[in-house]
């Protein structure tokens, strides 16, 4: 599968996750978010950038519990809990945020 973007064809897996992490750019994030019916706000971006940096440092997409624990180290309580994250990413924060951030789907994760 692929996403057509700026005249380029960007390959994805069958669930729409980018095949190559390096293909990602912020403009592409908006396109992926639309396919998830998400309108990206600053709050979304905060999480998307966070999971992308998590991946670049640790070379793994964070599953939900790891994501919340990692967020707690950097953000106040109200932004590092599962209810807040589900409000931003209704179909699963780790699943949707990593997709929008151009990362592989986290293993065994909702």
């Amino acid at each position: 599968m692929a996403i057509e973007f700026n005249g380029q064809s960007i390959t994805t897996d069958k669930e729409g996750y980018l095949t190559r992490v390096d293909d990602w750019q912020p403009e592409l994030a908006k396109v992926i978010a639309e396919t998830e019916n998400i309108q990206l706000t600053d709050d979304h971006w905060e999480v998307v950038n966070f999971v992308r940096n998590f991946y670049l440092e640790y070379k793994t997409s964070p599953a939900i519990r790891a994501l919340i624990k990692a967020l707690k180290a950097e953000f106040p309580e109200e932004k590092a809990n599962s209810r807040y994250l589900y409000r931003l990413f209704p179909k699963g924060p780790a699943k949707q945020a990593t997709k929008i951030a151009g990362l592989p789907k986290p293993a065994r994760c909702i």
């Binding site: 793994t60 599953a63 519990r65 790891a66 293993a107 065994r108 994760c109």
Partner: protein, 121 residues
Amino acid sequence: MISNNRIAIVNTATTFDDFKAKEALDLALIFASYEMPVALFFMADGVFQTKANQNPEGIGNKDFIATFKALGFYDIDDIYICQEDMVERMIEGELSVDGAEILPRTQFKQTLNNYDLVLTF
């Protein structure tokens, strides 16, 4: 699926030996995401995985060693390395894992013996 069994994953293989190290790590993360208590043990050639400054990408592999630094976020805090096996292989200084306990073999095996399920890689 959720049980109170304490799981030990024992690494005896080098970093790139037949994907064993990567599979052991993936399994640990899966257990952890089911909130099952899991500990990592490193012995024999497995202690080579704990060396800092490895560069898997330099030989075309994914840098899964970098994930060791994220184990705390998965509540994997019990990490043990066999001291004698490190000394024999001249491993010293900085490690690829945070918060690991380096135990003499007698203590290492006693600690391992406390686990209900032991899986070796």
